[in-house]
Amino acid sequence: MICLRSTIRTLPLGALLALSACAGGDATDTLRISGSTTVNPVAVDAAEVLRGRSGKPITVDTQGGSAGGLAQVCGGEIAIAMSSKPIADSDRQQFPNCDHQPTKVGEDAVGIIVRRDVYDAGVRNLTREQARAIFEARTTNWRELGGPDLGIFVYDKEPGRGTREALDKYMYGKETAPPPPDSPRYAVVGGNEETRAKLMSTPGSVAPLSTSFVTDHPELAVVALDGVEATPQSVAAGKYPMSRPLYLVTNGPAAGRAKEFIDFVASGEGQQILPRHGYLTLEQLGQ
Amino acid sequence: MKAISFCCASVRHRDRVLVGPVSLDLEPGQTLGLRGRSGAGKSTLLRAMVGLLPDELHVEGELHVLGDAVHGWKRHDRRWAQLRGSAVLVGQTPVVFAGSVLANAAFGLRHVTRYGRAGLRKRACAALAEAGLWDEVADRLDAPAHTLSVGQRQRLCLARALALDPQLLLLDEPTSALDNASRDVVEAAVAGLLGRRTVVLVSHDDDQVRRLCDREVDLEATTSPAQGSGPSVRQT
């Protein structure tokens, strides 16, 4: 009992002491990275390697996707933003005091993903107009596109996700995308893992998703767009319409550990990480 | 038919005898007083008659109430509810239910009998009169029952029981929770019932028992059955 009493008394005091002791720690040494779930696997692997070498901490997070990363790097909450979309004028407008410096580290193809049964039944190619009709919920059955008699269920990405911007850019070019359709067969997903999980559990579903996330999943298939398959060759040749660059972005020129990290990913050794996750290296792109 | 008939009846906690064994018969119209110190088991015995014992207690021996051999009934036997409509217990503390004075007086009636609204009212008012409360509440029948004084509430509980026109009335220390003034009023109300109703009255107050009852059982002697003496029964 006496022991408990003294514990209760000393606990807050001890906590305060611990706090003040910790405050002097080397926490600011942490290299903080956040943003796109597409770039995330690459950054996690690279961080693993560098952490093993220097012993200094690197944290990787994916809150809010690409746009979240770009916002946080301006706020100074992180040192490097991962982005699976180029810096747009709207981003520059939103953060006028911020100097986004992107470094391209690879390229990824976003696919319009359908389920294998739909693909095998004949939906192997979509035109730009057909894609718009699907995502605007004007086409609601795969039968209309030469597929099975099965309702279409659309999963769209949250706002701010690089994947969604790639799809919008393909479907609408420079026009602003219309608001989401008021369709009962439409839901919203966040990260790439969630998108894949929902696609695999929903018959008749379709969603935009990085093709690298479906390579090991035969239940899902990537349709060709305007007759172009999403192959490394077509992406490298710039023929595939929904490819997108992958960036690491700093606020102002990269320096210190952030530069070290970016240089590593861009180096020959770091580039080997990209094919592991289904992305194209700078070399494959001829850059 | 005897109103109550005990034959070597005792209340036990597992194998331990708490009250009894008691053997006695009560004829209709008689008044029986149960007395003894607090803890002697008076209230327990009273509750045994209508199946309201706490879960861990049970009755051994024979116990007939209004002709029913209730010692054989299980705790949740459905016959208990019917019996309780005829052998009504009034507890020590005056419990009033949410609702008006009238609603309280008619509380049991509404469930146990099939009177219409007017019949309910008539019976409830008659019961309030029998309990000696009518003059005090006649103008506030629709007031919430909890606004009554403690003494009035206890008589309301009595009226609630009387409204059922019970063949047997079981009163558990009806005056012990009351101050002196209320005590006299309630005791007067109880005295008014004697002779017209069959009553079992539990009281730790020997004088009260002597004043009100034809017969009495002193449960004091039963608390230590090892000595072999049964309860003393006084017949007047």
């Binding site: 009493r5 906590a15 706090l19 910790c22 405050a23 002097g24 720690g25 926490a27 600011t28 990275i33 995330n40 996690v44 690197i58 944290t59 994916t62 809010g64 746009a67 979240g68 916002a71 100074g76 909450e77 992180i78 939103q94 309702g151 949250e158 706002p159 701010g160 602003t176 608001p179 989401p180 009962p184 839901a187 966040g190 990260g191 893992e193 894949r196 999980a197 929902k198 696609l199 929903t202 018959p203 | 309201l52 879960d55 459905r78 509810a81 019917q82 309780r84 009504v88 009034v90 507890g91 419990v95 239910f97 949410a98 609702g99 509380f107 469930h111 146990v112 099939r114 009177y115 029981a161």
Partner: protein, 595 residues
């Protein structure tokens, strides 16, 4: 002259008295200030955010379209979504919860009832992320199959999951209300010849009704504030406001609630001071207003009128009805118990990897590989930090409420404390994110998470402590004061030791909930990868934690390895929060024995 003598004597007495610092009073005041600060921070932050840019409140309440790119901020669709999921939850949970509470208190022997109630309360020990996982992996396919909803995402699924989550609240508060009806009331009614169910209906329920209605409101407050479990299964589709005639069909469709919108990515995207941020803050304000309203209404127990016009059935019908009700109520008791058994059974089986000690002691590697060593450490850091912060404040606040405050002030303080406890955790996450992570520039850090979690724990700890203090037998107070103790000495040597089991119980109950909180951690304290279990500093020291780990893995539920790891981590998490609850049992026993 006599006055002077008395004063003299007092001074002499004081000289003999050992000097004592009045720390209890200081602690109470400090705790009161800390709690007030937290409350003001919540309100002030949201008000400040909502007014930081011009915002049309009429549009917010009536326009279904939420479209930041076109600067249109309408919340009508989210209000509908919130109302729909809460309504579904209540429609299922209220009849079931009430019936189970009645069955447990009125028809079950006391000892069995106590054990069964503990069983039902286990439902409350399961963190919302685990419910999310259950919803994602089990309920979605079920709804999809039964109602033909593709994928199974939608308002109905979210509502059903919420129903399970609010059930323990409704059962527990209803049981308290029923148990507060004196046994004499039941006996008095039974003595008049009423059957068991008639006793319940006519005598017990009228007395317990205000408390049972309060149970619904408190359950509703919980449902309104829930984020994570709903987030995973609702489909998060904006702009869905159905026409009146298609309301029923719309319940089967994806939608959005206030909490899932706030919990989504937009808080990170919206720059401070932008119209977007103002819109989000307004959503938070709206949510807070609803929850506070429900909590306050739940605390105010309105007096009952007498409803005494019921048909009188015949004798045979009376008996039949009694039987039918008893059977129905018994069945209702079974449902929550089956749910508990079901959830724990699923966890034990699907989370099989969690039984392997290696899973506890190896670090995670990639998606679904390795164990959860660092996550356990991180959760431990958060729980211990929260305990160190919340226990003293809880004690102080409890003392303030039950001892130092006057009667009227105590009522206010109680109400304010319970209200603070009802603030949805997602709002705490949002506020901590903006205040600590963004404005203070700390980045994500374990301490920020600890502060957010402490706000959740302090009200529980304070309320249980206060009830304990109130339950101090007056004779003890009298005896202590009769020995000449002054107030400080009395508080220190009588009240604080007496309150200790209360503080312990309240803190552990709160911590069990905090251990499983996900939403505030996502914003304030945890990252996806790279954080060690043990932080190396304060600012910029995020951790990894079990609930957020489950959240990340659950989103990858199509990958069998990730799903297995998610169930495993969920099992570990539930074991930890169950341990915290079990640790509270001895202290609770002692309190019950004292009464």
């Amino acid at each position: 002259m006599t006055d002077l003598l008395t004063a003299e004597a007092d001074r002499a007495a004081d000289a003999r008295r050992p000097r004592s610092t009045p720390w209890p009073a200081g602690l109470a005041v400090a705790a009161g200030l800390a709690a007030a600060l937290a409350g003001l921070a919540v309100l002030g932050f949201l008000l400040d955010g909502a007014t930081s840019a011009p915002l049309d409140w009429l549009t917010l309440l009536t326009d279904p379209v939420w479209d930041p790119t076109r600067a249109r901020f309408g919340a009508a669709a989210m209000i509908w979504g919130t109302a729909a999921v809460c309504l579904v939850a209540l429609l299922v949970a209220v009849p079931l919860g009430w019936a189970a509470a009645i069955g447990l208190t009125e028809l079950t022997p006391a000892r069995t009832a106590q054990a069964l109630r503990a069983g039902v309360e286990m439902l409350a020990a399961i963190p919302s992320i685990v419910y999310g996982l259950v919803g994602l992996a089990l309920l979605r396919p079920l709804v999809s199959a039964v109602f033909g909803v593709p994928g199974g995402d939608g308002l109905l699924t979210a509502g059903l999951i919420l129903a399970v989550m609010v059930l323990p609240t409704i059962v527990a508060v209803s049981i308290d209300a029923l148990a507060a009806v004196p046994a004499q009331t039941r006996e008095a009614a039974a003595a008049l010849g009423l059957t068991r169910t008639e006793v319940v209906r006519a005598a017990v329920l009228p007395d317990a009704a205000p408390g049972m209605r309060a149970a619904v409101l408190l359950g509703l407050a919980r449902a309104l504030g829930e984020t994570i479990a709903v987030f995973l299964v609702i489909g998060r589709a904006d702009g869905r406001l159905p026409a009146p005639h298609e309301v029923f069909a719309a319940v089967l469709r994806p939608g959005q609630t206030l909490t899932t919108k706030i919990g989504g990515p937009e808080a990170v995207l919206a720059g401070a001071g932008s119209a977007h941020w103002a819109g989000l803050s307004a959503l938070g304000l709206l949510l807070l207003a609803l929850v506070v309203l429900m909590t306050l209404a739940g605390l105010r127990r309105s007096p009952t009128g007498s409803g005494h016009r019921q048909p009188r059935p015949r004798r045979a019908a009376r008996e039949l009805r009694d039987r039918a009700w008893i059977a129905g109520l018994r069945l209702a008791v079974l449902v929550p118990l089956l749910l508990v058994a079901g959830v724990f059974g699923v966890l034990a089986v699907r989370g099989a990897v969690g039984w392997n000690p290696a899973f506890w002691f190896t670090p995670a590697a990639g998606s679904g590989e390795g164990g959860v060593r660092d996550q356990i450490l991180g959760t431990a850091v958060l729980v211990i930090g929260t305990a160190a912060l919340a226990a003293p404040i809880g004690l102080g606040l409890g003392l303030l409420i039950a001892e130092y405050a006057g009667r009227r002030a105590a009522v206010w303080l109680r109400t304010a404390t319970v209200t603070l406890g009802g603030v949805p955790s997602i709002l705490l996450g949002l506020i901590t994110y903006d205040l600590v992570v963004r404005t203070l520039g700390w980045g994500k850090s374990w301490l920020a998470g600890t502060v957010a979690l402490a706000v959740l724990v302090v009200p529980v700890a304070a309320m249980v402590t206060a009830s304990r203090i109130v339950a101090l037998p007056p004779a003890r107070r009298e005896a202590a004061l009769a020995l000449g103790l002054n107030r400080t000495q009395f508080v220190r040597s009588v009240l604080v030791p007496w309150a200790r089991p209360g503080l312990l119980t309240g803190s552990l109950l709160g911590l069990a909930r905090a251990a499983g909180e996900t939403a505030p951690l996502l914003f304030a304290a945890t990252v996806f990868a790279g954080a060690a279990g043990l932080p190396s500093g304060i600012a910029h020291s995020p951790v990894v934690a079990l609930p957020t780990h489950v959240f990340t893995l659950a989103q990858d539920s199509a990958d069998p390895a990730a799903l297995d790891a998610a169930w495993g981590a969920a099992l570990v998490l539930v074991l930890i929060s169950t341990l915290l609850l079990l640790a509270a049992v001895p202290a609770r026993r002692r309190m019950e024995a004292d009464l």
